[in-house]
């Protein structure tokens, strides 16, 4: 059933977010520390563990795949509700401090990835 897929996804999401909140509380910072990342890792792990792999029947998969494919529409909706006007009008400082680090990071990606290939 499709709802099983949605429910498994939702359970992973909640577990990850709760763990992220807990970690934030433990470290004393008012933020969710990597909750989405933990949720993703949880989903990846239960998909590959022999004992839980069998849950992922084709119908169940459809329940997750729908949300996977809704990702792009959600990103577009998210872009439409950004404070884009303030971002581009609250001064040169925001524009400069937003752009310069990105350019530096793009420039050093090849350095970090070539190192990775040497390691492997």
């Amino acid at each position: 059933m499709i709802i099983y897929g949605v429910a498994i996804l939702a359970a992973c999401y909640l577990t990850g977010i709760l763990f992220g909140e807990f970690l934030g509380w433990l470290l004393g910072i008012p933020s969710n520390v990597g909750g989405v990342g933990f949720a993703m890792m949880l989903l990846i792990i239960i998909q590959s563990l022999p004992s839980t792999k069998k849950w992922f029947q084709p119908e169940v998969y459809k329940g997750i795949d729908f949300w996977n494919k809704m990702y792009i529409p959600v990103v577009i909706a998210m872009s439409a509700v950004q404070n884009a006007y303030a971002a581009f009008s609250s001064g040169f400082i925001a524009i400069l401090a937003g752009i310069v680090p990105v350019l530096i990071c793009f420039a050093i990606i090849p350095l970090l990835t070539s190192k990775n290939h040497q390691n492997v």
């Binding site: 996804l9 939702a10 992973c12 999401y13 977010i17 970690l23 934030g24 470290l27 008012p30 933020s31 520390v33 990597g34 909750g35 989405v36 990342g37 949720a39 993703m40 989903l43 990846i44 792990i45 998909q47 998969y61 997750i64 949300w67 996977n68 809704m70 990702y71 792009i72 529409p73 959600v74 990103v75 577009i76 909706a77 998210m78 872009s79 439409a80 509700v81 950004q82 404070n83 884009a84 006007y85 303030a86 609250s90 400082i93 925001a94 400069l96 401090a97 937003g98 752009i99 680090p101 530096i104 990071c105 793009f106 050093i108 990606i109 090849p110 970090l112 990835t113 990775n116 492997v120």
Partner: protein, 252 residues
Amino acid sequence: MFNLNEVFIKNGLIVAFVGVGLILWFSDILSGTLFKKRIPMVAIAILIALVIAYMTGYYTRGKNGIADLAVFSGFTLLGGSMLRDFTIVATAMNADWTEIKKAGRSGFLALFTGILIAFFTGAFIAFMFGYKDAVSITTIGAGACTFIVGPVTGSALGASSEVITISIATGVVKAIVVTILTPMLAGKIKLNNPATALVYGGLMGTTSGVAAGLAATNPLLVPYGALSATFATGLGCLLCPSIFYLILNSFF
């Protein structure tokens, strides 16, 4: 007479489905005809959405882009953090564990490098623009990490609301720049494999920018970039108001 506005407001989420569908349909046509498929349809759709947000922001002076028009308020639900994070988690179904393990160490390194570069460049620019107190400089530097790290750091340190606004704007500019530049530079930096996507996500740090940029480049890479980027916000919230602030505080 029935009230069209009321129907739209009551069914906000459904209105957003139609709205996003129309934006994507229009982008598909533009991508195929005007740009001959050279610019991905998703990149065009995101740009259109940002232009709409800019224009509505200009007219309404509000903070929520198109959602400040009541009939389109459902966009905040569809594009809010709950559904964004939920769908990002769903993209993990395409992720391959062995690929993640392969890039594990350089992904981790990228996470710290990205935050260090963003924070200290942002802090340096704030200093050049005349900010001389450690709290303001730290907050703007934190905003250069992501638009969440900025206000979290600012309120933790007691920064002025003007500085917090600049830090949010910095983070939003960063997300937009990452979104636009990623599909343009993807070829140059060989952003076509999971290992590079993990490094890229950790370096850029801004989950929304990384996820949108990768969606416009190659949707199959989204889970890898989003996975490492999602840890950047947490790490930034951890380092900026503590260690980084103490470092800057010893200078000013």
